[in-house]
């Protein structure tokens, strides 16, 4: 099995220590989500806090940790998305790497790897060349690790529907609302 990337592996009982860049763009959100930003090592720490609910499309070009609720689509083309232990995602996810410690309902596409940690949960289809599922993790869906066609980008709108996936979320408008829980 492939070796884990220790750089993005959180210590037991701690929040994931993925590199945390500035906030992603969430167009048209009022009021804006509360992104916790601070300095750690050389990069900023960006969290979507657990009181934040985002409905719509979430784009970013930096690593991101989500502890709140997100519904819709998440795109971090060349970056790491970490779903924290409190994170609840009901979305199509496209990223370079996805680390799941919380709950994800929806299809996950990663150009590098998907890592479902102990107590992490994914209901949906995974497309990634590398997949790690820890003992105690929950997974229901399919895993496609073929290297061809794996790209951290969403398919065209016509191809978004995945009738074979029971967990595929419904399409959502670009950004519907951002609200505090």
């Amino acid at each position: 099995m492939w070796k884990r990337d220790e750089a993005v592996r959180p210590a037991a009982g701690q929040q994931p220590a993925a590199p945390q860049p500035p906030a992603p763009s969430v167009a048209g959100t009022t009021p804006g989500p509360r992104f916790e930003t601070g300095s750690s090592m050389e990069k900023d720490i960006v969290n979507i806090g657990k009181s934040v609910v985002i409905k719509g499309e979430l784009n970013g070009s930096e690593d991101l940790t989500i502890e709140g609720h997100v519904e819709g689509t998440i795109q971090l083309r060349d970056h790491v998305l970490t779903i924290g232990p409190n994170g609840r995602i009901k979305a199509q996810v496209f990223a370079k790497a996805v680390i799941v410690l919380g709950e994800v309902t929806g299809n996950v596409t990663a150009s590098d790897k998907v890592d479902i940690r102990d107590a992490g949960s994914v209901d949906g289809d995974i497309v990634s060349p590398r997949v790690a599922i820890a003992e105690g993790a929950h997974f229901r869906g399919s895993v496609d690790m073929q290297r061809k066609g794996v790209a951290a980008a969403p398919p065209p709108p016509a191809a978004k529907a995945t009738p074979q996936s029971p967990a595929a979320p419904q399409p959502v408008p670009q950004v519907a609302a951002v609200q505090r829980a």
Partner: protein, 213 residues
């Protein structure tokens, strides 16, 4: 030359030959797995249906090393939910609607020892669905006990290599229901033919079914 030798180019040099598993669970030899893998890898990009709980190292084995697309459908969890919810009578109908795969679309099915835990109606419903989704020349691997074990536990089968499986037991809502005779098993999977059958030293029967072309 073993199967793993033939597929070795898919691995990087830093990766181990076999999935990493936790030491402590008993390991038993398997005769049918190798034949199942041979049948599975006869096709490019095979589709695999795993009816057991998700095992990360198995996913890596089939996905990374064999290039399979894997559907994980934990029927043991469904069974547990029905037993605990006192809805076991509805389980046959549930199974008839459970699998969303289209007809003749799956190259291999890992049934493990699931049939032993089902009543006859549920087993019949499951066998019908598995026969439906299995592609012609596809393979189904099933394990069948020969004795009623005293404890009520399921078993996770963790692939060590093509000749060995690690058995990890975990708590179940109910135990094995029946010890099926060989002829009953053959009747159950009437749409398939028995390709290979083994009785192991641990008294587990391994049966490899193939769907006629």
């Amino acid at each position: 030359m073993g199967l793993l030798d033939r597929i070795a180019p898919r691995r990087s040099e830093s990766e181990p030959l076999a999935p990493t598993v936790v030491v402590g669970d008993p390991t038993f030899s398997t005769k049918a797995l190798r034949k199942f893998l041979t049948a599975l890898t006869a096709r490019e990009s095979p589709v695999l249906l795993d009816l057991g709980p998700v095992v990360g190292s198995n996913v890596s084995f089939f996905g990374e090393q064999l290039g399979c697309k894997i559907f994980v459908e934990d029927i043991f969890a469904d069974l547990d939910r029905h037993v605990r919810g006192d809805k076991i009578d509805a389980f046959p109908d549930f199974l008839k609607k459970r699998f969303h795969q289209v007809d003749d679309s799956v190259n291999g099915i890992l049934c493990w020892d699931l049939i032993d835990y089902l009543d006859r109606a549920s087993a019949q419903a499951l066998a019908g669905q598995l026969t439906r989704v299995l592609r012609p020349e596809g393979a189904l691997l099933g394990f069948f006990g020969t004795a009623q074990p005293p404890d009520i536990r399921y078993t996770k089968y963790i692939i060590v290599d093509e000749l060995n499986l690690r058995h990890r037991s975990y708590r179940a809502a109910r135990g094995r229901q029946t010890i099926l005779l060989n002829r009953d098993i053959i009747r159950l999977f009437g749409g398939l033919r028995v390709s290979d059958s083994f009785l192991l030293q641990n008294n587990l029967r391994e049966i490899l079914f193939r769907k006629p072309a």
